[in-house]
């Protein structure tokens, strides 16, 4: 190949620079969006754990505890405590549905589904605005040693 034939390629490496930077920034944007999902998942887990922790004691059937000394959770009361805790949280507007509360004797399991909105993917046409994250936590009341 003669020198004259090679000339049209000159400078094309510089054109790759902004393209490369855009690729890096797009990858960074994806990383930030994924970390937002991770953040929301952590928040969902912390909220579920706090709700389960509160409900495991505040949801006890007091009448039965005082008469038979059995520590048994009252399902209705336990659900009410969980709903109060979740409603008082700053994450309440992000809930995709009501919390799922499962009560068995002295154990309560709370499952939450939260919406996690993307920041950067939101501006891409056709891309999803966000996703849903699920977290669950279980608390059991135990007798102090």
């Amino acid at each position: 190949m003669t020198r004259a034939e090679r000339q049209p390629d000159r400078g094309s490496a510089l054109m790759l620079m902004p393209a490369g930077l855009l690729i890096v920034l797009v990858l960074a944007s994806i990383a930030v969006d994924m970390s937002l999902v991770h953040l929301r998942k952590r928040q969902a887990f912390e909220l579920a754990a706090a709700a389960a922790n509160d409900a495991a004691t505040a949801g006890v059937d007091q009448g039965r505890l005082r008469t038979t000394h059995d520590y048994v959770l009252d399902p209705e009361r336990t659900r009410a405590v969980v709903e109060d805790v979740v409603a008082a949280s700053e994450l309440a507007p992000q809930l995709a549905g009501p919390p799922v509360v499962t009560v068995t004797a002295a154990r309560v399991r709370v499952e939450l589904v939260l919406e996690a909105d993307y920041i950067f993917a939101d501006v891409v046409p056709g891309a999803p605005d966000g996703t849903e994250v699920t977290a669950s936590a279980t608390a059991t009341a135990v007798t102090a040693p």
Partner: protein, 161 residues
Amino acid sequence: MTRHRGDHGQVGGIEVLPFGLLVFVVGTLLVANVWAVVDAKLAVDAAAREAARRFVEADVPAAGDFGDAEAAARRAGYEALSAHGREEARSSVELTGLESPGGEAGFSRCARATFTARYDVPVLRLPWIGGFGSGLEVTSRHAELIDPYRDGVPGSAEACS
């Protein structure tokens, strides 16, 4: 006249350098700021949670005498922020709610204690130099119930039912 072959191709190359630099600087600042907010949110979440946990587990002599417990809880919140590498001067951890089921304010059984942590995220943060400017305020709130049946809490648990 000799040919200046050195100019060939630069028409399609050099002018993109400012554009590339602009994309790089603006894009990096945008991503860095968003990430700073996400990172600060993790820190204030931890601070509010630690403060609330410390407060509801404190031993308090009387319903209205919870100043020491509040101070210890706030200190726990600031320590959580510090553990995340955050400056205390830019942050605040406050008790923003303490209400019993009956509606009275005070440290009593089943009362809900709410702590709010705030952090002022700087506009630009440089390694070794620190942050500049006042950017976004990141806030987190966490509420916990004071255990109705544990020792060290004034009052009766009957109001909890």
